[in-house]
Each structure stands twice: as structure tokens, then as C-alpha cells.
């Protein structure tokens, strides 16, 4: 039932987009699609007993548990706000000729389709089905990256598709292994997560670790973990900023979501002793590589993209600790990071409209007189930057603090190493903000560009997201805590 509702919603949205004539109308449809997805998710939380039976969902291959609905909620919020942002942003892309008018409907249809596929991925009980939807998110989001009429966007999209899809094939081989393992243990093969986690303790450890590593390769590429991260800065920096917010805030979560599910299964077997160090190793390597790439970076969107890799690394480290408290804060970090990163990309998009190089998305941003021309975006970057490096009272501070505290109980040297790396990341952000935002035009070198009049539809989402990450940091309602605790229990940690 619920799945049919979501699918109907997307079909309606795409049909309406095809019928609309102006950009305003198309955009309104897109905002409404996000909003209804959000309302439906809230309806499920308040009126449906979670985890649901398959009848309510509509198929035995799907289910809704707390983690799934939590991810859908995050996705719906970001999609709605990014669609609102796109109202002004896409207008400006059209005016500058960066997006062709003929591509508008394709852009918004892909947008709605991506939201549907994401919802289906998060509600998949069957891991192979999840794999297919995750793979489709890659293809559709690559289309959104490639839609700008620039050759480098096509380059970035092709790189993204090939790295992610090739790695995802390894995941599929891992899933075939898992199917065979479940068939030899249970008699009938299954890839349904709920069945797998129930019987996981009987699975042979040696095979499980091979299977985990294979599945991890693909999902790590989806979430930009080192050494499969090379597509991420390119794609995130060159995509239209509304799309960057989705790529970073929602698409990366798909990979981490899959890793969490898979790790929950392996956590029931003795193989966890080998799986945890693997996660920790790749987590720390990702943080390390990302922060040292951040230091010399002079392109704002790339800097933010590298920070995403760093945060994915932190989540992996938190997972590797594998205590219930650590998992709790990893789940919280998924949300805190998603909102913070979306706000950063949306602010960066405003600056990008004002200062971007006309020649290449790779070029250094020539930011000058930022407080005079774009004060809101400047403060968005400063506050978002403070939030993402983990300054209280923003939400990311708490998740980072508790993940690190939990890490400290396992290994002190690793904690020190991670702390040093996080400090480097913070300095990279600080250095960028101080050097770029202090540039002012002088009479010898006046600022020759027209000031970009930011429409309020682009300002409102930034303000809402900043408000959201502040509230999430200072107010922990009992409902939120019990909700996330429920996720941890369902994952059997």
C-alpha cells in the first residue's frame, strides 16, 4: 500500500512536470513532491506500527523499519528544501545559458525519479533489490550531474558512473555469495535482511568475511570511501549546487546505509572480529586522505566535497567501534552531517553564482567583498563550516564527540590520530574562510561583476537548514532519542 502511494506520487509528479509550461510551475510540482513524500513519511511514523508487516508495505521484498523511515525522512527534507532552492538557482542557470531550456523537464523528471528510487532503496528488505535501486540512484544522479551544458560535467558524470557501477558489481558478487550461504544453512536461499539477521549467527565466519569485503567495496564506492573516492570531489563540485546538496546529503547515505545493514548481519557472527578493523582502517584512511586534500583546496565546492569524505570516514570509524552508544551516534551523525552539508552546498551555490569562473568548475573561486555582495551566503558558509568541523552547539559536535569518546575506550592512539586529522580539517576550513572572505576590492583592482541578486527562494532553505542543525544540537526531545535507540535495537547491536 505504502509503496504504491509513493510510486503513484512520483508518477503524478512526473506527469505534471511533462504537462507544465513554465519553470515556476515545474518547480512547484517538484517542491510539492518533496513535501508530500515528507508528509507521508511523518504519517508512517505516527500512524503505522514500525517495523511493518509486508501487507502494509505491499510486497514481501520490502519492509519499513525505523532506520529505513529515518533515512527517507532525511531525504525528503533535503529534497524539499533543495527543490525550493532550485527555483531561483535554475532560473539563474537558464539566464546564464548554463542549462538549456529544453533540458528543464528532463532535469525535474530525473529529480522526482531519483526521490522515488531512493525511497524504494531505503524500504527494500531484499538486499539484491536494494542493490538494484542503489545502482539506479547512481545512474539517475549522474544524469543530474551531466545535465549542465559543459564538457567537464559529462566527464565527471562518466567517471562517477564507472567507478560506482564497477565497484557495485563486486557487491553483487558478494550478495550472490550471501545467497548461497543462506541457502546452504537455511535450506532455501534468501536475501531478505530480516531473515538474514535472524539466522546470521549460524553462518560460517570465513565465507561471511569474504562476502562482507565484496559487498563493502561497492557500497564504499557509493559513499566515497578511500580508495574509491576519486569521483566524489569532481561530481559534487561540478553538479548544480541544488544537486550537490542531494548528492552529499542523501546519496552518500545510501552507501553508508547499506554498510550499516551488512555490518549488522556480520556483527552476529564471529567474523566481526575481522570486519571491524577493516572498517576502521578504511575510515581512518578516508579521513586522512580527505583532510590533506582539503588543506590546499581553493575551490569552495571541492573543499566541502572533501569534507564529505572525511565525515563518511568518521561514520565508518564509529561503526567499527560497534558499541550501542557508538552506533546511536553514527545514526545521529548521518542526519547531522546530511543537513549541515546540504546547507553548506546551498550557501556555496549562492557564492558560486556570484563569483564562479566563467571557464571551468575546477578554477579557484575569486571571492571578493563577500560581506558586501552576499552576506547571507558568507554567514551560511561560516556557520555551516563551524558546524561541520564540530563546534558546539551544532548537531555535528555531539555526534563527533560521542563517537570519539567511544573510540577512546577501544584504542587511545587511534583516537589521538583521528583527533589530529580532524584538527587539520578544521584548519583547512578556517584557512579557506579567512583568506577568501577577507579579500576586498581596491581602487587598483575593482570588482567588475554585477552583484547577483539572490532570490529569497534560495535564501530560505539555507536559513531553515542552519536553524535545523542548531535545534538538533541544543534540543534532544525524548521522542528522537527513543527513535534512534529503536534503530540500534532493531540492528541488534
Amino acid at each position: 500500500m505504502i509503496l504504491i502511494l509513493y510510486t503513484l506520487l512520483a508518477i503524478l509528479a512526473i506527469a505534471a512536470i511533462a504537462l507544465c509550461r513554465t519553470h515556476r510551475q515545474i518547480n512547484t510540482v517538484s517542491i510539492l513532491h518533496g513535501l508530500f513524500t515528507l508528509l507521508l513519511a511523518l504519517g508512517i511514523i505516527f500512524f503505522v506500527r514500525i517495523p511493518t508487516t509486508s501487507f502494509v508495505v505491499g510486497s514481501e521484498f520490502f519492509f519499513i523499519d525505523h532506520l529505513g523511515i529515518y533515512e527517507v525522512l532525511i531525504a525528503a527534507v533535503i529534497f524539499t528544501l533543495a527543490a525550493l532552492y532550485a527555483r531561483g538557482y535554475v532560473d539563474s542557470l537558464l539566464a546564464d545559458g548554463e542549462l538549456e531550456k529544453g533540458s528543464l523537464k528532463l532535469f525535474y523528471s530525473a529529480w522526482s525519479l531519483l526521490l522515488l528510487v531512493l525511497v524504494l532503496a531505503f524500504f527494500s528488505d531484499n538486499l539484491a533489490l536494494f542493490w538494484i535501486f542503489a545502482e539506479l540512484t547512481t545512474v539517475i544522479s549522474a544524469m543530474l550531474v551531466a545535465i549542465l551544458s559543459a564538457r567537464e560535467n559529462i566527464d565527471a558524470a562518466i567517471k562517477y558512473i564507472f567507478i560506482a557501477s564497477v565497484s557495485m558489481l563486486f557487491s553483487f558478487v558478494g550478495l550472490i555469495f550471501l545467497f548461497e550461504i543462506s541457502r546452504s544453512v537455511l535450506g532455501t536461499g534468501t536475501l531478505n535482511w530480516t531473515d538474514l539477521i535472524q539466522h546470521a549467527s549460524a553462518f560460517p565466519a570465513g565465507l561471511m568475511i569474504a562476502c562482507f569485503v565484496l559487498v563493502f567495496i561497492g557500497l564504499a564506492a557509493k559513499s566515497g570511501i578511500f580508495p574509491f573516492h576519486t569521483w566524489l570531489p569532481e561530481a559534487h563540485a561540478k553538479a548544480p549546487s541544488a544537486v550537490s546538496a542531494i548528492l552529499s546529503g542523501v546519496l552518500l547515505n545510501v552507501g553508508i546505509y547499506g554498510i550499516i545493514r551488512m555490518f549488522a548481519i556480520i556483527h552476529q557472527t564471529p567474523a566481526v572480529g575481522l570486519a571491524s578493523p577493516i572498517l576502521a582502517l578504511f575510515g581512518i584512511l578516508s579521513i586522512g586522505v580527505a583532510v590533506f586534500c582539503m588543506l590546499p583546496e581553493r575551490n569552495l565546492k571541492k573543499l566541502i566535497a572533501f569534507s564529505s569524505i572525511e565525515n563518511m570516514g568518521i561514520m565508518l570509524v564509529g561503526l567499527a567501534v560497534a558499541t550501542p552508544v557508538a552506533i546511536f551516534w553514527v545514526i545521529f551523525h548521518v542526519m547531522a552531517h546530511a543537513f549541515t552539508k546540504a546547507s553548506l552546498f546551498l550557501s556555496a551555490g549562492i557564492l558560486h553564482r556570484q563569483y564562479h569562473s566563467r571557464f571551468s568548475g575546477d578554477a579557484v573561486d575569486e571571492i571578493r567583498d563577500v560581506f558586501k555582495y552576499q552576506p547571507l551566503a558568507a554567514w551560511g558558509i561560516i556557520l555551516g563550516g563551524l558546524a561541520i568541523i564540530g563546534i558546539p552547539p551544532f548537531a555535528v559536535f555531539f555526534s563527533k564527540l560521542f563517537i570519539l569518546l567511544q573510540l577512546g575506550t577501544v584504542s587511545l592512539p587511534v583516537l589521538v590520530l583521528v583527533l589530529i586529522l580532524l584538527f587539520v580539517a578544521a584548519s583547512a576550513f578556517g584557512y579557506f574562510v579567512i583568506t577568501s572572505f577577507s579579500q576586498v576590492s581596491t581602487p587598483d583592482a575593482p570588482f567588475d561583476r554585477e552583484p547577483y541578486l539572490t532570490p529569497s527562494s534560495m535564501k530560505i532553505p539555507v536559513v531553515i537548514l542552519l536553524f535545523l542543525i542548531l535545534v538538533l544540537g541544543i534540543w534532544f526531545p525524548a521522542g528522537e532519542i527513543s527513535f534512534i535507540s529503536q534503530i540500534v535495537t532493531e540492528l541488534r547491536f
Binding site: 538549456e100 545512474v139 564507472f162 548461497e180
Partner: protein, 229 residues
Amino acid sequence: MIDPAYVEGFVKILFVCVIVTAAYIISTRNLLTLVSVYAAQSFILVLMALTLWAVEGSPVLLAIAGITFLSKVLIIPYFITSIQEKIRIKRDLRFHFLSPTTSLIISIGLMLVIYIALSRIAQETTGTSSLFFFGAVIGISLMMMGMMVTFSRKRAITKVLGYLTMENGVLLFGLFVTELPFIIEFLIIIDLIILVLLTTILTVGLDSTLEEYHQRIHRFYLWEDEEAP
């Protein structure tokens, strides 16, 4: 009933054919034959699925053979060939890191490594026959060889063929190791077709200048909804 020894011999011959096609895909510079070799490789997989069906009689295998034939022997090669005619690229001369000879030597090494690794795993699961074990080894090797093509070639259209070869490897592995539900095989094919469509259309853009690209894109009537006839 068919004699099992005869079937085993036949499947082994098909294995050799798969390896030969993979070696050709790795080393050739000629794009036109690349597609036909890919189609031939997919056809060999269809034959394998049919042979297994003749022995085991499972209708899923027959269905897999059917959709593989339709999608990978007919539709995808036809689509890529028509794209190639449009962009008029006949040869892919540039190799990124590996020359064809080193690629071939590396793939031989990889096959040995995979053989050793899988025979360790096979020790844990008892009761797998040698044919199925070889199917798994060849499947993973084919994947690795496809991956080398994807990463060592410069042209995106050759990369697509590398990816398709990888996918054939996964199919082969799946055929011999376990029996996945048909719906999943079907959805993978759908995913594959979308991916090939998108990447080849983007390739048209990469392999030409931007102005030409827009002209070419318009021929597919994808980005212009008003001007389509």
C-alpha cells in the same frame, strides 16, 4: 536424458571460448569487432544457460537464457553499433596504463590468484562439483578482465564494453554458483540497459566538441521536447 560427461565436455569448451573472447576484448584496438565479440561472448553465455537448463530442467535458466539473448546479443550490441556509426570512431588506440600484452599477462596472473582463493573457499563448502567451481573461477576472472578494460582504456565507449564484460562475468558466476530469483536477474538487465543508454549518449558528447555534441544529441530527441517530430 543427456549424458553428463558429454555435457561437462561441452561446457568446458564453452569456458575456453569465453576466455578467448575476453582476451580479444582486452587486446584489440578495433572498436567495430569489439562489439561483435561482445555479442558472441553473450551468446556463449546463452548456450551455457541452455545447457544447464537441459541438465537441471529449471525454468529460471531458460528465462535467463531468453532475456540474455534478447538484451545482450541483440539490443545492446545493436545500440552501440548504431552509436558508433554516428560518432564515426573505428579504433581506440589509446591505452591508459597498460599495454595489451601486459594486460594479458596480468589477467593470467589474476586467474591463478582467483583459482587459489576460490579453492580455499570451496574447501569450506563441501559438495561443489568441479564444473561449478570452474564456472565460478571463470566468472570472476571475466569480471577482472572487464575491469581492466574499463580502467585501462581511454574512450568511454570502450569502457562501456569493459563494464558489460564485467557484467557477463557476474552472470556466469551467478549461473554456476547459485540460482537467483528470476526477478532479480530481470531487474539487473533493466539497470544495465539504462546504464548503457546513458553512458553511450554521454560518450557522444565526450568524443566530440560541444557544438557538435548538441547537434548530435538533438538527433536522439532526448533533450528537446518541442522539436521532436
